[in-house]
Structure formats: structure tokens, C-alpha cells
Symmetry: C2
Subunit: 339 residues, 2 copies
Amino acid sequence: MAVDYATFELGDFTLQRGATLRGAKLAYKTFGELNAAKDNVIVYPTWYSGQHYDNEWLIGEGMALDPAKYFIIIPNMLGNGLSSSPSNTPEPYNASRFPKVTAYDNVRAQHKLVTELFGISHIRLVVGWSMGALQTFHWGAMYPDMMDLLAPFCGSAKCSRHNFVFLEGVKAALTADAAFLDGWYTDKPAKGLRAAARVYAGWGFSQAFYRAELDLTAMGYSSLEDFLVGFWEGFFLPKDANNLLTMLWTWQNGDISDNDLYKGDFQAALAAIKARTFVMPGQTDLYFPPEDSASEVAGMPNAELIPVPSIWGHFAGGPGTNPEDVRFLDRKLRELLAS
Amino acid sequence: MAVDYATFELGDFTLQRGATLRGAKLAYKTFGELNAAKDNVIVYPTWYSGQHYDNEWLIGEGMALDPAKYFIIIPNMLGNGLSSSPSNTPEPYNASRFPKVTAYDNVRAQHKLVTELFGISHIRLVVGWSMGALQTFHWGAMYPDMMDLLAPFCGSAKCSRHNFVFLEGVKAALTADAAFLDGWYTDKPAKGLRAAARVYAGWGFSQAFYRAELDLTAMGYSSLEDFLVGFWEGFFLPKDANNLLTMLWTWQNGDISDNDLYKGDFQAALAAIKARTFVMPGQTDLYFPPEDSASEVAGMPNAELIPVPSIWGHFAGGPGTNPEDVRFLDRKLRELLAS
């Protein structure tokens, strides 16, 4: 089968928690051309369960992320089914035995891609939604001299305790299905995937979204149950359960200071981020509430808090679901790139 | 085994959705003495999965709900394990075949208890937390001439769409466990109960609660995981799965207008509530957000919105978990009863 993306061989890639992924792969897609000065680079990591396809809504001619101007690299997160993941890694590190991967590991892999494959030493902008924002923050803290700008939206530099708990619920629902077989399923644990989807449904969109019935009017579902089955279960069912759990662990353990650079000093890691940063939480995001972003911005020397004025909850940030929010984000990214 | 509560025989009790519970039982407990004028009555329904024991924190000498002054009746909700429930109803309506019960059914049963057993024709106050608030609203709309005061806190007159979705997540997690056996389990579906508990954990308390680590400092758990196991799983595991699902259905289908009186006209039902009412949402409640209460108050002729200033989320309202919130509620109830 022809693929429309490329794969970078990471080789034997030793992870932060100790395992080595032999023959590790980083799938990526690029848009636009790298200019001669190699100074038109945008890195745009993927989000929880998303693949590079699911990032494309923010890229386009005439948009801030314009491939006519920029060389845009979308690296796929480890565990997302395209880069090395439980679902595509050969024995013995396959399936349930796929190792723990941190956001630090992801960004280190992406740094190898950017520097070794493309010979890029400077990045104009790193931008990302949700877990893409987590990776964006990691870029800023791990390679503070390497980029001009950061735009993490609807995400955090460290998984909050409440966010951790929300994810525990998703995980518990998924793994309550006996068909999950501790990760050694051959048939997918559909009941668990559907349950995880229903748990997620209350978190993904805000109370105000449901109150306004945007699932019906804006998204076109025929009933609330149709939205739960058609959108949410339909979203989770095609995904591999072990992949979802790998990325969930990455999310829960996200922390820009949990590494040798900062040794757990979260404030030091925030303070080290030099890039001009627009931190853009969704105003009604239930798991990345603006208060968390505000407290992170307070610790960053060059950051600005720009809440996305939206009742779409976490989906204020993506994946292109609400055109008005896309326009807002695009306008802010344009402003940031013009600076 | 001696019990510390009484049981009212409802006889053959035909439910709103068509089934008849033969030999239906309403368990209740009273505090204080009914005076000669029978005008010192407070009705105080229970909440989701709670039993009358779990309501006692708001009752006490010198408190607003003072048994030295008032005759306080706590009726146990149908499905809560003491009143007729899947777990205690004989065949054929036992277990998974226990019929759908509405809040309307519950309040009609409570009305029988109050009028037929005690000969009470007037109630001073109906008060309740969460699903107790749902029943409180129902009292106001179903028997608008019967009481002076209402105090629903952290609850609503109609289950919002978002609240419905949150409960879908809880239900999906519980029933994803194959041991649930479509409700015909003999051994309890412990994995499903634990999963439901973990889903609930993110909803019960607010983001700010977890941010402030009140699970550790105020509640004394030794870690977040200890809180999830010790408090949340410990809370759900002793409960019967079918009972939980019965009450969950009651909750999801709560609506003061869904009956012959109002025929679905929610605004008419709100407008019919004559009692002076303090509607007290928790300021940070994630499933009964203050916005929903505000819109209900706007439709009630004699209601006041009094948010509970607390970061305890839904638990701002009970069950007596945070002493400061208890004092706030008690003060407001005193004010209401003095009017």
C-alpha cells in the first residue's frame, strides 16, 4: 500500500524509562519546501490518538501555517499507530509489552529527525493542540535556544492531577472489558473502546456545548445518542487499545521538568523557555482549564495567555471542528509569526 | 438483624412507566417529633446511592435541621437498597428486571408516606442534595400548595444533556465488565464497579480541588492513587450494580415536567413552583454547574440563586465532607426557615 508520509529510522532508541526500541520509527509528513537558509521551519506534533492527517486542518494556503512560506513538519507521536507503536512493533516489544514512552522521548526523537535528517538548527515555530501542546512545551524547555516561537493550545506543560484522574476513568472503562485480555487481545475489545468513548464524551465538549445542542445544530447529529455512537464510539473504535493506553500513559506522565535537565523543578523548566509563546487554552476546556494555563504562563518569561473564546470545550483547539475557533487560532498564529 | 429505620408499605405501586411493584416498600427514618399542629415537617430525600444514614450530617441540635424543633423525614430513594430495589425485590421484578423508576414515582411514594401514614397535609421545608435536589424540585412542582420552602442544593429540576452524558460514561464503565452479565451476576462485577468509581472521581470534585490537593490535605489520603482506591473504589464497591443502574436511570430521566401535570412543558413546571426556594449550586460543580441552576431560577416565581462558594465541586453539597460548606448550607437553611 502506498503511503503519503515518510518514515525516519531512529535506530536503537533508548527511552527515558529504560527500554530500548530497536529499529524505532518516526513517521512524519512535511508540507512546503525547506528554504536555503533553513529558517522557515514549523514543527507541529500530533495529539492523543491523532495522526498527521488529523493536523492538516490548520495548514493551508493563505493561512498562518502556509506551505507556500513555511516548511511544516508533522511528526507522529510514538504510539499513534504510524510511528513505533504497540500495534506495529515486532515481538518482543509489541502489544502490551510496548514500553513506556514520555513526551521527552517523543521530542528527542523529533529533534533527531529535524537536525539529522533535515540539518535544521533553528525552528521558527513549534505549535500543537492538546498532547501536541505538551510536546510543544517540551520543545521549549528541552531546546530553549532552538526556536523563536511556541504556540501550545489547549494543553499543558505538566499533566494536572485532575487531568490525570479524568484519564484514569478512560483507562478503567477501556480495560474493564474482559476482551482486552490484559492487552493480549486478537479481536479488539469493542465494548471497552465504546465505554472509553462514552467516558470521553462528557470531557471533550463543555457543559455549555451540550446545553446549546451544538452536537445537533453545528455538528449535524440527529440525537444525543447518535452523537455518542456516531461521533464518539466511531472515533474510538478504529483505534488500537494498546496504542491508546501507550499515549494515555505518555499524557498522564507529561512534565517538562521530569528529566535530567530540570530534575523535577517545574518552575525552573518553565523559566527556561525563552521563545515568545502564545499559550491558548480553551475557555471552557474541562481538562485543560484556563486556570492551569494561567499558572504556567506566570512562570514563563516570554509568554502570553490567550484564551480561545469558545464553548466547544477541548475541541476549541481542534481538530478543526469549529470553523470560528479555527479562524481565531489562525489569526493568533499569524500575529505570532509576524512578530 | 435489628434495623434503625422503618418501612412504609406502598402496596401495589404502579410506576409512571407502566410496571407495578407489588408489595413496594419505602424505607424511611424520622428525627424529632411531629407536633400537634403537624406544622413542623421537613422532608429530606436521599441522593444517588445514598441511604438515610448518609443524610444525617445536615441534622443536629442547634443546626437548621434541628430535631428539637422539626419532625424530619428522610425517605430512601427507590433503588437505594433499603426502599424497593433490584437487590431486595423478590422475583420476578428482581435484579436486572427491576422496573424503571422516575423521580415522579419517588415523590408520589413519599407523598403517600407523608399524608397517609402521618396525616400531614402541610410541609415546612423540602430539602435535598444532588438527586435529593431533583426530588425536592419534584415536590415543588407536583404539590405546589403543600409546602412553604424548598432548598435544592447541587442538583437540578431536569437532567441536563451534559449531565446525561457524564452518566453514560459511568454506566458504560460499569457494564463493560463481563462479570456484570447483563445484570444477572451472582458475584459482584468488581472491575466494573471500580471502573465506574474512577470515572466518577474526575466529576465529583473540581479541577481546583485536585489542584489544591485537598484529597491529601483536607481528606487525609496518602496519595492520589490512595484517594482513587480508598475513597472512590471503596465508595462504589459495597453498592449493588443493578441498584446503581436503577438510580442512574432515575437521574438521567429526571424532569419535573415529564408527567401528566405538565406534559413536558418545563417552563410551566418551573413557574408552578410556589414555595420560597433557595437554589444552591456548588460554584465549581462539574455536572450541576451554576449556569444550569441560574436558568432554572429564572423560571421560578419565588426562587433565589445562592451559589455555594467552594472548590469542592459537587461535594460542596454533601455528604458533610467539607465542614466549611456544611456551615454555609446550614446558615442558609436557617435563614430560609426563619423567613
